[in-house]
């Protein structure tokens, strides 16, 4: 069963199309990484799926229901980000108690253990927490609520390296014990790639690709070799990225389908695999060149 189905989903924010004819489906019980540059539309997509925002055009279905204003969707979906706001009247312990009342599948034991592990104090107030602590607490709510669709929007904002590691590990363990559909948006694909089954890359509100992690690893190859040979080779092919290294050596990234690899090796081109996170960065470059060109 598909948990999420979008067809030609468009969302206008002012003059800009935050989402532009986006069509995706997300299957039940998968962990999907939602990857994209700043402003690619990740948060917009997640907020529409959570039922907070409505779509401008197109169709969106979560559990076969239109999510906006749907209680059914709200009861089965949780959206976790660093903007979650709780009344300043409630202590952290109160918030956990309230969450327990709202989410039927709430795991109070897990919440309590994580709460202790990350050394929260029961009488702390949410707005007084530091950025990293806030994210950590929100993560506890996201995990313990056990919603059939759990969405984390940049969940590790402000967390230190060790808490981030713990979070990914906790997420994976809880997912294995209680499978559900999880979407994580992040800038740090390298951190979460071991966790993910699928990767959805969006760019300027459009789907770039939606591949399984294995497919993504096979998507492109890195080629290093003499510049003229590389240029000759990649002449009519889709080059994702290329960079001059050394005097007449070029490194370039190209889609694997186009390249007869054995032949390349014979010509002295060094073929290397490319990390998924690097690939995503290369794919979503806005233009050729880099920040250095700004200062020229």
């Amino acid at each position: 069963m598909n948990v999420v189905e979008c067809k030609d989903l468009t969302k206008k924010q002012g003059q800009l199309n935050a989402l532009n004819d986006l069509s995706i489906t997300i299957k039940e019980n998968t962990i999907t990484g939602l990857i994209g540059r700043n402003g690619a539309g990740k948060t917009t997509l997640l907020k529409i799926l959570a039922g907070y925002w409505y779509e401008t055009a197109g169709e969106v279905r979560v559990f076969n229901e239109q999510p906006f204003q749907s209680l059914f969707v709200s009861a089965n979906v949780i959206y976790v980000d660093d903007q979650m706001s709780f009344s300043g009247r409630l202590t952290l312990a109160d918030i956990l108690k309230e969450a327990n009342r709202f989410y039927p599948k709430w795991d109070a034991k897990l919440a309590e253990r994580l709460f202790d592990y990350f050394s929260f104090q029961p009488n702390q107030i949410h707005i007084h927490l530091s950025k990293g602590k806030k994210s950590t607490f929100n993560m506890i709510i996201g995990l313990a609520s056990r919603c059939a669709l759990t969405m984390f929007d940049e969940p590790t904002t402000g967390m230190d390296a060790s808490v981030r590691k713990d979070f990914y590990r906790a997420l994976l363990k809880d997912y294995l014990a209680h499978p559900r559909t999880i979407i994580i948006s992040s800038h740090h694909l390298e951190e979460i790639e071991d966790l993910l089954e699928d990767v959805l890359l969006i760019e300027q509100g459009k789907k770039y690709f939606h591949l399984s992690m294995d497919e993504l690893k096979e998507y492109a190859v890195g080629l290093t070799g003499r510049t003229e040979i590389i240029e000759q080779w990649t002449a009519n092919k889709e080059v994702i990225y290329s960079r001059q290294i050394g005097k007449d050596t070029t490194y370039c990234v190209a889609k694997r389908d186009y390249i007869p690899l054995e032949q390349a090796k014979q010509l002295g081109i060094e073929v290397s695999s490319i990390a998924a996170s690097d690939l995503c960065v290369y794919l979503t470059r806005k233009q050729k060149g880099g920040i250095d060109d700004v200062f020229k």
Binding site: M1, E28, N29, K47, A50, G51, Y52, W53, Y54, F63, Q69, S70, L71, F72, S74, A75, N76, Y79, Q83, M84, S85, F86, S87, R89, L90, D94, E98, A99, R101, F102, Y103, P104, K105, C147, A148, R180
Partner: protein, 249 residues
């Protein structure tokens, strides 16, 4: 097949209402503080007059709980508007909810606030009397010699509760309308005040008739009906207005 949570609107509204009781506890503590301040204001007397005739001089001081009444009315309007603000609405969307459940739980909360406000306002008038009797004026106080019928007190409380309900739902509708666009928090007050001034200048009796419509209704049933219908219309308006409001910007 995954198991999905199914929760009815009624259950969610109840849970949200309970959440709001905790989250908005300060609304009630502010009521207590406010009424104490109002009582202190009233201790100076709301009006006094003196007359002198031959060798007889009469000084009267009027003690009323009008300040309590007016401040409580302001209190309900302000809080009704405040719970429609963006920050509060976002708090309301932290857990399972939609606009309808959020509006309904707010309505229940305002209803409870009106009931508590109504009861305390009327009881405050007795407190005022007691304070004046014991601490301020040793001279005869008119109105101490007789006892109130319980039914009179109850009628006072019920009337006050319904005035608060009316004002609360009106404030709530107004607050919700101002949430539609970021210019409206400026425009709406200007419009409302401007309209009142314009109406006053044209010497039209709209306001008088409007207040007579609610204030001078002597038939209890009609009085309650008028206010209930108006309040329910206000809330339906607020629900319709907020239907397209997006949560969690």
């Amino acid at each position: 097949m995954m198991s999905l949570n199914k929760m009815s609107l009624g259950v969610i509204v109840k849970k949200q209402f309970q959440y709001k009781l905790k989250a908005y506890a300060s609304v009630f503590s502010s009521l207590v503080v406010l009424q104490i301040i109002a009582i202190l204001f009233s201790l100076g007397g709301n009006g006094s007059s003196g007359s002198y005739n031959n060798n007889l001089s009469i000084n009267t001081t009027l003690y009323t709980n009008t300040s309590v009444l007016i401040l409580t009315m302001l209190w309900i309007v302000i809080h009704a508007i405040m719970i429609t603000t963006k920050a509060e609405r976002e708090n309301g969307f932290t857990f399972v909810s939609n606009q309808l459940s959020n509006n309904l739980s707010n309505a229940l909360f305002l209803l409870l606030a009106s009931v508590l406000g109504g009861i305390t306002t009327i009881l405050a008038s007795f407190l005022l009397r007691v304070i004046v009797y014991f601490f301020i004026d040793t001279n005869p106080i008119i109105g101490t010699g007789f006892t109130y019928q319980l039914s009179d007190v109850l009628i006072g409380i019920v009337a006050m509760i319904f005035y608060l309900i009316l004002l609360g739902s009106f404030g709530y509708l107004l607050g919700m309308i101002t949430q539609l666009h970021r210019m409206l928090p400026v425009i709406v007050p200007v419009l409302v005040i401007g309209m009142i001034i314009t109406i006053a200048q044209t010497e039209s009796d709209v306001i008088i008739r409007l207040s007579e419509f609610y204030y001078q209704e002597t038939n209890a049933l009609f009085f309650i009906l008028k206010i209930l219908v108006t309040s329910i219309l206000c809330f339906i308006g607020a629900i319709l207005v907020s239907h397209r409001l997006e949560a969690r910007r």
